[in-house]
Symmetry: C2
Subunit: 191 residues, 2 copies
DNA sequence: CTGATTCTTGACCCCTAGTTCAAGAACGTG
DNA sequence: CACGTTCTTGAACTAGGGGTCAAGAATCAG
């Protein structure tokens, strides 16, 4: 019983995520969130407790979205090299095609709050570890399929790929598309 | 004539840099800067104009310091692979040995202000381009010395190295030392 | 020693961020 | 249809952020 919510919490979290992603945690004010979600400030506080808690929800949503997309995209038909390369391109292009180059929310969060917000730091770390596991699994898959050499250390290559991808998304804030594509090409050349 | 400055501007900029580096641009208040530098707020504004302008100076100083260190370190005796690997390790270890993992000021700035502050974005970009040039030059040097194969595309490898290094410094906020060292090892293995 | 000049400083100001709250609105129940 | 419950909302509050300023302290020139 009681008055029903006038909004879908998940939708509001997604809208808040866009705001945080675009402006960063600190520079996104409660007023910004109210505008981005169409829900009044007071109501947001009633539902989510605080700006920080809402941000936590957006980080969780972001992590789930990223993980889901990576898993799905890497699983499509093709060699490990092809799929990983395509995934890198996807992220780079998505970044460059948007009105603002927002990079990766998790990485931005590490840059902004890393060290000073333990929970946000852990959330970002978990996402990175998940990505590494996806890459490693896809490389091993490639080894079973025969498109990746048996001598390749899947775990070491997965770590390197994640590192390169993280850097690529930093560089995607300032470099042009051909350069970024070239890096993606070189990154997977060793597989 | 006139009353002389009671502080060395360069020293104050260096101290402000430490503050910005540790807490980020937005989270560093004028009060923080006054404490970090030992100079009263009013005096900082008198000398530097605004928080943003002081930050600009710290970015410049940071870029110069980074470039200088990279150039010097890469030039020491050894093969290209050895020197680049040592440089990666140096940065990783410096980050992990500090009381807080601050990563790279330029990258943090891109994460925090990227896109929304044109000048800061450009400054960070210039530093990255400089790094790429250093790597490329060192690889070509290796080719002349005979420790890097003639078939290696120096520019492409330099781009990849910078991307990997940027990612490494993001990951240095949450991963442990052995993992980061392993990535550095794998990164230079292809040279 | 006087003055013009350039520094130093804390007090002060305005504005916004983050949060709380009192009033009211939309339910389900009995 | 009254009643408890859970929502909605703008107004109101507090703290602190970024910046300004008036007063005074060093300096040098004449």
């Amino acid at each position: 019983m009681g008055r029903p919510k006038s909004f879908e919490p998940d939708v509001v979290i997604a809208q808040a995520m866009e705001a945080f992603w675009t402006k960063g945690y600190t520079d996104t004010s409660p007023a910004d969130l109210a505008e981005a979600t169409g829900v009044a400030k007071g109501s947001l506080y009633h539902s989510f407790g605080s700006k920080r808690q809402l941000f936590g929800k957006t980080l969780d949503l972001y992590s789930r979205m990223q993980a889901e997309r990576a898993e799905e995209f890497l699983a499509r038909p093709g060699t490990a090299k092809e799929r990983i390369r395509a995934y890198f391109m996807l992220l780079v292009d998505a970044d460059l095609d948007g009105p603002v180059r927002r990079g990766c929310l998790a990485q931005n969060t590490l840059g902004e709050l890393g060290g000073r917000d333990a929970e946000a730091t852990r959330a970002a770390h978990r996402l990175e570890e998940g990505m590494i596991e996806f890459f490693a699994a896809r490389i091993r898959q490639g080894q079973r399929d025969g498109d990746v050499g048996q001598d390749v250390d899947a775990q070491a290559q997965a770590l390197l790929l994640q590192s390169t991808l993280a850097g690529l998304r930093v560089m995607a804030k300032t470099f042009d598309r051909p350069t970024l594509h070239r890096i993606a090409d070189t990154a997977v050349a060793g597989l």
